[in-house]
């Protein structure tokens, strides 16, 4: 079949409904949010159309700087942890039998789709005093009495790594499946150990994929909003938590919108970078 440009109005038919829906319910809300970010906040949670930069000016505060710095640091730490475990794992997975691969993929998808609320609940139970890990340590004689491990930075970090790990594997999976197996075979024939072949052949060959994955996971982690709330202290709150808090509990929509716009800009810049890294030819 020749693909032709649409000629008659009727040829555009299939496009009407999707285009309309996406425009009305994504583009317009997005534009509304940007507009609200310039609005003037009134007492009592309302806001007035205006064009003020106050909401953006608040970014310059020390508090905001600290939250932003912490969010970025946390997301980077999670991304690095996930990629460092994810690359050897996905590499081994892509070389496993098909049946085993499917089993893992189903498990990873199930965990990935699990609600953030449930992941938070599961980890807070695991880190609790009554039902938690420390009971196991006591039983093993490593500790004298059980204790709660939340709220703490370690708990937030662990749960976010847990949440982002399946995502990392699924992002890496296609690239590693397609990786030419003869590359490592050649290295092995020349006498490299499997571990050495992995670090000297696989990792360098995937340099750009790894960079793109780091960025993707970073963005994913940046979106986490419940885990810092459920497992951390207020100083562990991230930008996503702060946006929700301002919008819902402080009823300061203009400020929440301004922060969201800022987050979009950060994300878009990173997506651009990830696409650029992904497009670069893989150096063999």
């Amino acid at each position: 079949m020749r693909r032709e440009p649409p000629q008659r109005l009727g040829d555009y038919g299939p496009l009407f409904f999707p285009a309309g829906m996406l425009t009305v319910f994504f583009v317009v809300p997005f534009a509304t949010m940007i507009a609200v970010s310039f609005f003037q906040r009134e007492q009592g949670g309302f806001y007035q159309p205006a064009f003020v930069l106050d909401n953006y000016a608040r970014f310059l505060s020390l508090f905001f700087g600290r939250v932003l710095g912490f969010s970025l640091m946390l997301a980077i730490a999670v991304a690095i942890a996930c990629v460092v475990i994810g690359i050897p794992f996905t590499y081994l997975l892509s070389r496993s039998k098909r049946k085993i691969q499917i089993l893992w993929l189903v498990a990873l998808l199930s965990i990935l789709s699990l609600s953030e609320v449930m992941i938070g609940f599961a980890w807070s139970t695991l880190f609790s005093r009554t039902a938690g890990l420390t009971n196991l340590f006591v039983w093993l004689g490593l500790m004298t009495q059980p204790q709660a491990l939340t709220p703490s930075f370690g708990a937030v970090m662990t749960a976010m790594t847990y949440q982002a790990f399946p995502y990392t594997v699924l992002v890496l999976y296609p690239a590693l499946v397609r990786l030419d197996p003869t590359l490592t075979e050649a290295a092995r024939t020349l006498g490299a150990s499997p571990v050495k072949a992995f670090f000297t052949v696989v990792v360098p060959a995937l340099r750009n994929t790894i960079l793109a994955t780091l960025i993707m996971v970073f963005i994913f982690a940046l979106g986490s909003y419940l885990l810092p709330q459920l497992l951390g202290r207020p100083q562990h709150w991230t930008l996503s938590v702060l946006i929700t808090d301002q919008a819902i509990y402080q009823s300061n929509m203009p400020f929440a919108a301004a922060m969201a716009v800022f987050l979009v800009l950060v994300t878009l810049a990173l997506v651009g970078l990830a696409l650029y890294a992904g497009r670069q030819k893989e150096a063999a």
């Binding site: 809300p29 199930s110 139970t125 999976y173 997506v271």
Partner: protein
């Protein structure tokens, strides 16, 4: 090496399974306690999901929302993917981009955009706004699976049908639809499961008028933990595992995932 590999898989598996094992254990406690190992054995916390009217209503709300929003997402994605495959119209790719955007950005952004939109238009809090919001938020999933499905169709089949005088509508119904059906089903399945579990968009759009299960759990967490939260978590995990297991059973999961990330 095999031993080392097994050990590595085991450690990762343990990390992934540990919280779920504890949750599953907690869910069978006899009394209302989050003890682990569980004290006594009882499935009453699973019964609670269906007998306690609050939990049951939340379950019904979640399932209804997921079923409707996934269907709507499909209705948006199918004609769009068909058009992009059928016609040469590079400018129309902007809509593909719009379809993928809500899923790529941090979810709080889409949630806040929809919140301001529904508040401005005066529909804030209506249950149907959550259906539209979720459909837009998850349209990426059917869009990506369907785009993949269309590229797998041999264009000469469609050409043959066209030569024999079939119009677009007939071609779509008799040739394309049967070939694309597995991708339609998996696209729906992905959107359904994710909508079932979604929290922030649902919370920001209808959080004060309607309780889905994730919202219900989050609200309940403030007043203390009950084993019902654990049983709901196990139930949702089981639903996801069954759905994705079926997708794997009747489709090519590695291929589906291989191309999904490629599209991003």
């Amino acid at each position: 090496m095999t031993a080392l590999r097994r050990l590595f898989f085991f450690v990762v598996g343990l990390f992934l399974a540990l919280p779920l094992i504890v949750v599953a254990g907690v869910s069978i406690n006899e009394k209302q306690t989050l003890a682990f190992p569980p004290q006594g054995f009882s499935l009453s916390w699973y019964g609670e999901i269906f007998t306690n009217s609050e939990w049951r209503n939340a379950l019904i709300a979640s399932v209804t929302l997921a079923a409707l929003s996934a269907a709507l997402a499909l209705l948006v994605a199918l004609p769009l993917a068909w058009f992009l495959w059928r016609r040469v119209a590079p400018w129309a790719n902007i809509f593909r981009l719009l379809g993928v955007a809500p899923f790529t950005l941090p979810p709080v952004i889409t949630a806040l955009g929809l919140l301001t939109f529904w508040a401005t238009t005066g529909f804030y809090g209506q249950p149907w706004t959550a259906v539209i919001s979720h459909a837009i938020f998850f349209v990426t999933l059917p869009l990506v699976t369907l785009s993949l499905g269309f590229t797998a169709i041999d264009r000469s089949l469609v050409e043959a049908a066209a030569t024999m005088g079939a119009d677009d509508r007939t071609i779509f119904r008799t040739v394309v639809m049967p070939l694309i059906l597995p991708y339609v089903v998996s696209g729906y399945a992905f959107a359904f499961v994710l909508s079932l579990n979604e929290y922030i968009v649902a919370y920001m759009t209808v959080g004060f008028t309607m309780e889905t299960l994730p919202i219900k759990i989050f609200n309940a967490l403030r007043y203390g933990y009950t084993p019902t939260m654990a049983s709901v978590t196990v139930l949702f995990l089981a639903i996801a595992a069954v759905v994705f297991g079926l997708v794997a059973r009747f489709g090519d999961l590695p291929k589906l995932l291989g191309a999904m990330a490629e599209d991003k």
